[in-house]
Symmetry: C2
Subunit: 288 residues, 2 copies
């Protein structure tokens, strides 16, 4: 158990309270412009005392199949280099949204989230596991697997505060994945995402709140700002839900930064008073 | 696939549309009064063309540890006999809420839901698996396991329409159980429940909607009416959520019946357009 009395913001293990920021930036079809925009928002979030900064899905590239290959990068690359530099410069953790990642031969593209610690070291690489292949009558239609290759590994990163599970957008539709991260020790789930104008109004808050509630974690969901001129219009409304399922901060649809205090003491309190995770009946759930 | 054109309400396999009713009755400390009340509401629901009638948790007994033993019955007993008779008389399915069930020796008490088909035959017995042992600061405190023994089996009943998963109240907090029922073929989840004035406003709609959405099922949650004089005050607000996560009918806190059209064609449509269940990555979720 961590020391409940320690509320300082110093950099050391054992802090229960710290600050998370979500940068809800507007993504354009100009990569340099996107990276400059991300840099400015990260700098502002750091000035506002963020310990952990989360960017949205495909923050350097339009969420549009025709752009993924052209904007893709191998690791290390221009975008990850910038994020690493900014993490070290400002001494912050960065969950670097996602970008199109290509392999050396540029044969495969992944939708990939890279995370960096306060020294700029890479501490996580999550390749989106569940690809968004849907066709809703009168609503959204998208076929992500046409251009993107799926990952196959859960990603839980270690920070000085706690473990953080990383999922990308459609991944958050799958309660099994989130639960597995939590059983692996995650107390925060951070999700770079880009819900749209069909699924956003219908499901965004609902899913974020329930994943937080069911798993007694903070659930941080980062969206790009809404751009009505884009082929895929993101919903915006980046938000943070707490372990009781309440939304504690939420953006509008515009470009903005939201700042939230994360309190792992509240995670501990909820898990003690309402011991859902302890009440699980693995004996019943397992397939016989 | 079922015949999409068949919208008749005849009693035969293959119907995609049918009517569900939830009887949100007020539970008192008089068992005879509770059974009379249930009978009247079942009769009214049948008159309103219900095919399936769902009652709330502990509909014949106050949700109060001091009553469970005294009100408990072995099977068959007074309450189950009445439900069986009414199911046959009105030719309806009844998901009989739950009642305190005792074993022959009256040593153990379970929180048990009995279901009956249109001929009054018993088609399911679900003993609540997850017991409600919580102690929320400034809110609800209850220790169900003090008096109730937990069940250990998932319950999915067969009807002429589809399979229906049965869970009781706190069971619905556990996404694993609901998912397992759905992977076993359930297209409806019926949940006799009794959320309270702490968890009801905070979580009732949220959980019902997300379970429906994640699993692409109709989720039917039945509560007793609110009685502010009871030791445990039920929230009410019985509701039905559809596979897109929308609430399609909801009661107030008072004694009332809600009627919903269930359309398995809509389940099929959502599962085709937005194939969440097909997109599951069992290879990733399994523990290595």
């Amino acid at each position: 158990m961590r020391d409940k009395g320690n509320n300082n913001k110093n950099i050391n293990k054992g802090n229960l309270k710290f600050t998370a920021a979500v940068c809800q930036l507007k993504v354009t079809d100009n990569k340099t412009h996107n990276l400059n925009g991300a840099q400015k928002m990260i700098e502002e979030a750091a000035l506002r005392n963020a310990d952990i900064i989360i960017l949205p899905e495909m923050f350097n590239c339009p969420y549009d199949s025709t752009y993924f290959k052209r904007f893709s990068e191998d690791y290390p690359g221009e975008t990850t280099g910038l994020l690493s530099m900014l993490a070290a410069l400002h001494s912050v953790y960065i969950v670097g949204g996602s970008i199109p990642e290509c392999d050396k031969d540029r044969n495969r593209i992944y939708n990939t989230s890279y995370s960096f610690d306060r020294k700029g070291a890479l501490i996580g690489r999550h390749r989106k596991i569940h690809l968004f292949d849907v066709d809703v009558e009168g609503g959204i239609s998208f076929n992500e697997s046409e251009t993107i290759t799926a990952g196959s590994d859960m990603t839980v990163i270690e920070t000085e505060f706690c473990k953080i599970g990383i999922a990308i957008c459609y991944d958050m539709r799958f309660p099994e994945l989130i639960r597995k991260m939590v059983l692996s020790g995650a107390q925060i789930i951070a999700v770079p995402a880009a819900f749209n104008m069909t699924t956003g109004p219908a499901h965004w808050r609902l899913l974020a709140r329930t994943r937080a509630l069911d798993n007694q974690v903070y659930f941080i969901a980062a969206s790009p700002a809404r751009d009505k001129t884009a082929s895929y219009v993101a919903y915006g409304h980046s938000l943070v839900a707490n372990p009781w399922g309440d939304v504690i901060s939420e953006a509008s649809e515009k470009e903005e930064i939201i700042i939230s205090e994360i309190d792992l003491g509240f995670v501990n309190k909820i898990r003690k008073e309402f011991p859902l995770l302890k009440h699980r009946r693995e004996d019943v759930y397992k397939t016989k």
